[in-house]
């Protein structure tokens, strides 16, 4: 079995991003996954324990005092060292803002081929082939780096698979401390998030609000329906621009691309750039008071109505039928 390195992204407080499950699932489809993680000195044991829950049996852990202070570089160096030690066929990294920086630098340093935002991965003979969803899912393309090593950024939430837990064993990975110019992180704060609410990129259900929601307080209506359905909260760019909710909730062309089981659009017109981020959802529901709103062209179930009357009634229905 060939080795596939899986880069682990930790939040400032040391949490593992849930999208790791997708990286591990894609890695499995072409080889055996080996996790690579960088932690502050002394933190190896606690992180290894948690990685087993994501189905990673083997983890290479690099301890570095630069973790949390230097942007990207410690993770880059750990992956380059791990690639030298294990000669993997592919290195998988989450397609997050931070993950892309790591992938960009690793691909150049290893002279690898870089596949971007993959939603699928398979082997054809010795070649690794990545699949991409292009122009909001209007196309599915496949590409390969041929004989080169593959570095790929992976769309979180692209498999929907839940990992089966294993016991992870860790080996230490040495990385050198040579100084290259790097951005220094002087402050890092995690967004407060209701822990029981799923993360947008990996959620099976998403409830999004648009300009019609009208205010930051009004977004509570969107959140209440989301919570009743166990869904993540999304938004249109107009809602983000108006300051109703933070940018990392934006779905669409310049926001997150989601492909959940259920997507509910509340007071969203369905502009082409919004559709680009959600039209591959399995089931789409829209509530909009304008019967000509383009969102209805792609909705499996559309309600022409006012969100301020339909949504509270829907929350009551959902709760009553539990």
């Amino acid at each position: 079995m060939t080795t596939v390195l899986v880069s682990i992204e930790l939040t400032p407080s040391g949490d593992v991003r849930p999208g790791l499950a997708d990286l591990v699932a894609h890695a499995r489809s072409i080889g055996s996954p080996v996790g690579v993680v960088t932690v502050a000195p002394g933190d190896s044991a606690s992180v290894t324990e948690r990685l087993g829950a994501f189905g990673l049996a083997e983890v290479l852990v690099a301890e570095s005092a630069a973790v949390g202070a230097a942007d990207a570089e410690p993770r880059v160096r750990a992956l380059v060292a791990a690639a030298a030690a294990r000669n993997p066929t592919a290195v998988l990294i989450a397609n997050t803002v931070r993950g892309r920086d790591v992938a960009a630098r690793v691909a150049v340093r290893l002279d690898a081929g870089l596949l971007l935002d993959i939603v699928g991965l398979h082997a054809e003979g010795k070649r690794v082939v990545g699949e991409h969803s292009v122009f909001g899912g209007a196309y599915l393309t496949a590409s390969t780096a041929g004989d080169r090593m593959t570095v790929a950024t992976v769309r979180e939430g692209s498999t929907g698979e839940q990992p089966s837990p294993v016991t992870a064993s860790a080996s230490a990975l040495e990385i050198d401390d040579t100084t290259v110019p790097t951005a220094v992180i002087t402050e890092a704060t995690e967004h407060a998030r209701r822990s029981e609410r799923p993360e947008l990129r990996t959620a099976e259900r998403v409830v999004s609000g648009g300009r019609a929601v009208g205010s930051a307080e009004g977004f509570e209506l969107v959140e209440r329906l989301a919570d009743a359905l166990g869904a993540a909260v999304g938004a249109s760019r107009a809602a983000v621009d108006a300051g109703y909710i933070s940018q990392d909730h934006q779905v669409g062309q310049t926001g997150v691309s989601v492909s959940p089981e259920l997507y509910i659009a509340l007071g969203i017109s369905g502009a082409i750039q919004h559709r680009a981020g959600m039209q591959t959802a399995k089931t789409i529901v829209a509530v909009n008071k304008d019967e000509t709103a383009p969102i209805f062209e792609i909705a499996d179930f559309g309600v022409v109505g006012d969100i301020f009357t339909v949504v509270p009634a829907l929350i009551a229905e959902v709760e009553a039928r539990r």
Binding site: T153, A183, L314
Partner: protein, 259 residues
């Protein structure tokens, strides 16, 4: 401070966008070509620094076909000083490996302190080019910035940027020379005025080929092996709320085992 802003011309997101079924490349013939909105914001960010310090120069740089000159002219009419257009048929279908090599080579030809790019283009969405350039040039980078400011000048000063991404807010500090990429949280682009539009025609645009940059072995690292078009979605049921819509919706959820 010498700034280079990267500019990309893309198919308009408002128009139909298609891929060539053979090559997997963007079919430039079917859509209207426009300057990417995020490139306009990157130019705006550079011009705001020029507004604050008149000694700042802003050079635009693009790699693209002949028509990409329109994108450069737009930026010049907004107030940029000059532009570089890398234009070579051999670069059609370049992947990020080639593109980053070519742009890095062009950046090595002139002195600069700061490169400003958009965080991701609307047609590629890869979001890796700025950090690849920084890696090739051996400089620091900070990507996905929602805002940034300069403390001190190009010599010994710093850039302090804020980003809010994937559930974490960060403040990043880096020196010069360096590469940053910005998000659509940055201010909208200014409108070119009449004088700007007239003046843009006289501003210098240097045209370069790959050979001018000393690059010959331009083989993409990645090739497209297949392209499949997905059938468009169909509209389903649509009801008008008469007070019973919530119950009908709940029935629909139940029929799909969503509740």
């Amino acid at each position: 401070m010498k700034i280079i802003t990267l500019v990309k011309q893309v198919p308009d997101t408002w128009s139909e966008r298609r891929l060539d079924p053979e090559t997997g490349r963007v079919d430039r013939a079917v859509s209207e070509a426009v300057i990417d909105e995020i490139s306009e914001r990157a130019i705006e960010a550079a011009l705001a620094l020029k507004d604050a310090d008149k000694s700042t120069t802003v050079t635009l740089l693009t790699m693209g076909p002949a028509g990409a000159l329109d994108a450069l002219r737009k930026g010049l009419s907004m107030g940029a000083d000059d532009a570089v257009h890398i234009r070579d048929d051999a670069l059609q279908g370049a992947d990020v490996t080639i593109t980053s090599r070519v742009i890095a080579a062009a950046l090595l030809r002139r002195p600069w302190d700061l490169v400003i790019a958009g965080n991701e283009s609307t047609d590629g969405r890869g979001g890796v080019l700025p950090a690849m350039l920084a890696e090739r040039l051996g400089v620091a980078s900070a990507t996905g910035l929602d805002s940034f400011e300069l403390t001190g000048g190009a010599a010994g000063g710093d850039l302090v940027g804020r980003r809010s991404a994937d559930g974490v807010d960060e403040v990043l500090r880096l020196g010069f020379p360096s590469v940053v990429s910005i998000t659509e949280r940055m201010p909208d682009a200014r409108f070119p005025n009449f004088r700007g539009i007239l003046g843009a025609k006289k501003k210098p645009v240097e045209v370069l080929t790959a050979a001018d940059l000393g690059l010959t072995d331009l083989h993409p690292a990645v090739s497209v092996v297949s392209v499949a078009e997905r059938p468009p979605r169909q509209a389903g049921t649509r009801i008008i709320d008469d007070g019973s819509a919530a119950a009908a919706l709940a029935d629909f959820f139940a029929s799909r085992r969503l509740i």
